[in-house]
Subunit: 342 residues, 2 copies
């Protein structure tokens, strides 16, 4: 190959191969009927000149941009990282690129980003943990722009797809597990109360208590924000309840880490004095000390599935939205202990 100099267009290739640009276009989108001999000629010319298609022009013309926009609250958080990893893998497998936007939980950012993305930049949109859906959902639906929500309460619209895990069941399982270990005073660190998943998990927790005839005590519930420091603060508060909890259920692993830190700094030991259970099963959870018993969300799978759902919509725009719930799974490690062995 000669110098792959920047501005090699389809026209240059056409000239080099002695055919028309239409023919080159046909070869590039290798679907059409082109005489094998001609195709060979064009392919050679492309090779010689180092031709690479210009996606901008292609997508301007009305074709696909082969880009999917992904809106996430943050990066560098392993919960989100895992989902992105799944998205990325599945996207790459289908020759799509990934345009990443972070909102930092700023609502205005969400809507401006959505506007730009839908304006030709991307073929579809993946919304992870969105917080301001109403602001743009209408526009998204009006123009039938393909989109999938991840970890968001179901939107009642036939064009919107959502991917979730069984938050209620997961929280129920975790709580039940603690109860069966003999715990009766179980603290609960809620996540962001604006998020449906927080409420679902809280409901699961309450349901399990109810099923075992354990009274619900509001003093054992603390509303946090899913981040580590709030887990710490929550625990400091919860430990003042009387009687104090013998187990704490954190709405996600990150805040569970804060919980563990706080327990230690109160001179208590895990799991001997207090059991801790998390939610998510981020990769680090197994590396905590002690390793964290938690409810596993299939994060990577959720990302992959979201992409698959989106691509299905892309391939068939008439497809209605669907709502998928992936099962959670209780992962027992070393941060919980039977209360009787104390």
């Amino acid at each position: 190959m000669v110098k792959p100099d920047s501005n090699v267009t389809i026209i240059d290739v056409a000239r080099e191969a002695g055919v028309s640009n239409s023919t080159v276009s046909r070869v590039v989108n290798n679907s059409e009927l082109v005489k094998p001999e001609t195709r060979e000629k064009v392919l050679n010319a492309m090779m010689r000149l180092g031709y690479v298609v210009n996606q901008q022009a292609r997508s301007l013309r009305g074709g696909r941009s082969q880009v999917v926009g992904v809106l996430v609250p943050d990066v560098g958080n392993s919960y989100i990282g895992e989902i992105i990893r799944g998205i990325d893998a599945e996207l790459a497998a289908n020759q799509y690129d990934l345009l990443l936007y972070t909102t930092h939980r700023r609502k205005t950012k969400e809507s401006t980003h959505v506007a730009t993305i839908t304006r030709g930049l991307a073929d579809g949109l993946l919304l992870l943990l969105p917080t301001n859906v109403q602001a743009y959902m209408e526009s998204l639906q009006a123009q039938q722009f393909p989109h999938v929500l991840i970890d968001y309460q179901a939107v009642d619209n036939k064009w919107t797809s959502t991917i979730q895990s069984t938050n209620w069941q997961g929280a129920y399982d975790a709580t039940q597990y603690l109860i069966e270990l003999g715990h009766r005073r179980i603290g609960y660190v809620v996540g962001l109360r604006e998020m449906q998943c927080s409420l679902d998990r809280l409901a699961g927790y309450r349901a399990a208590l109810a099923d075992y005839a354990i009274p619900f005590d509001p003093a054992l519930v603390y509303y946090g924000d899913f981040y580590l420091p709030e887990g710490y603060d929550a625990t400091t508060t919860l430990l003042q309840a009387s009687p104090p909890p013998t187990a704490i259920f954190a709405a996600n692993d990150l805040s569970a880490l804060g919980v563990m830190e706080a327990i230690r700094s109160h001179g208590l030991s895990i799991p001997n004095d207090i059991s801790v259970i998390g939610f998510d099963d981020i990769p680090d959870a197994a590396q905590f000390h002690p390793s964290l018993t938690t409810v596993r969300q299939p994060l990577e799978d959720m990302g992959r599935l979201a992409v698959r759902t989106l691509l299905k919509r892309l391939a068939n725009p008439d497809l209605h939205g669907e709502r998928v719930e992936l099962p959670t799974e209780l992962i027992v490690r070393n941060s919980c202990k039977s209360v009787n062995h104390k």
Copy 2:
């Protein structure tokens, strides 16, 4: 605002405002001289129709796409996450978008991605921990496509910029710290040997040993891959040296975590039996148990600086590349102990 229906073009706005599309274009790129009165009229029309610029068309025309491509080996790794966070923040502050590509350390992926990106998709390119630079560097330089390498050995070319931290010095400091705590047998878990930063850190380690007249023992050095399990395996091997190390220096925090796990599973305690020191200071490092003494790389700053350097190049294409080294800093926490107190 009326329905922000998809296909509002500059021409629709022009018609609505009763001016020409050129004028609308001038208002959109609000730099030109437009009569304030006219500008107002256009702005109103834009508002009414819900106009959003089509980036594709704009960048096709030859302007800027306002997108920067970022090539990373992986996501969901906090080291990379932190750098991306910095990149993202700085990019957003300058109205740029972020096209993210993951290579998963697959060399072929790197070059194909670079080819697509440079072909109109993005205005500039950020390469994080690239492993196959020679494959595309020439083409990047030939077309003078603005790019910045993060955490890669200096490339001797006036058009390439690189951002790094003081790997040698950081490793020297860490080793010196251990030596001054009385350690003489210091194991070292190298990162990927293909990466210059691994070698730089190894050199810093050796230099410190030499300065204190401690013989270098190859049995105390293990070549890993920067990931957690290798840290575990490394430690298992290193502990068989005779005499075994009293401290282990891991080339990054993630493998330090593996080191800690391994030490514990051998029934030893940190830092009483063995001291552990890491490199990076990822956010989790402070949450390890015990909290990890480590060499802090200003990861987020590295990301920000890379973007700033790139944007400078974008603004002034004649600017030569520069090579910046950001200082590391020893963060003392609880994973190291003086050997005399044993």
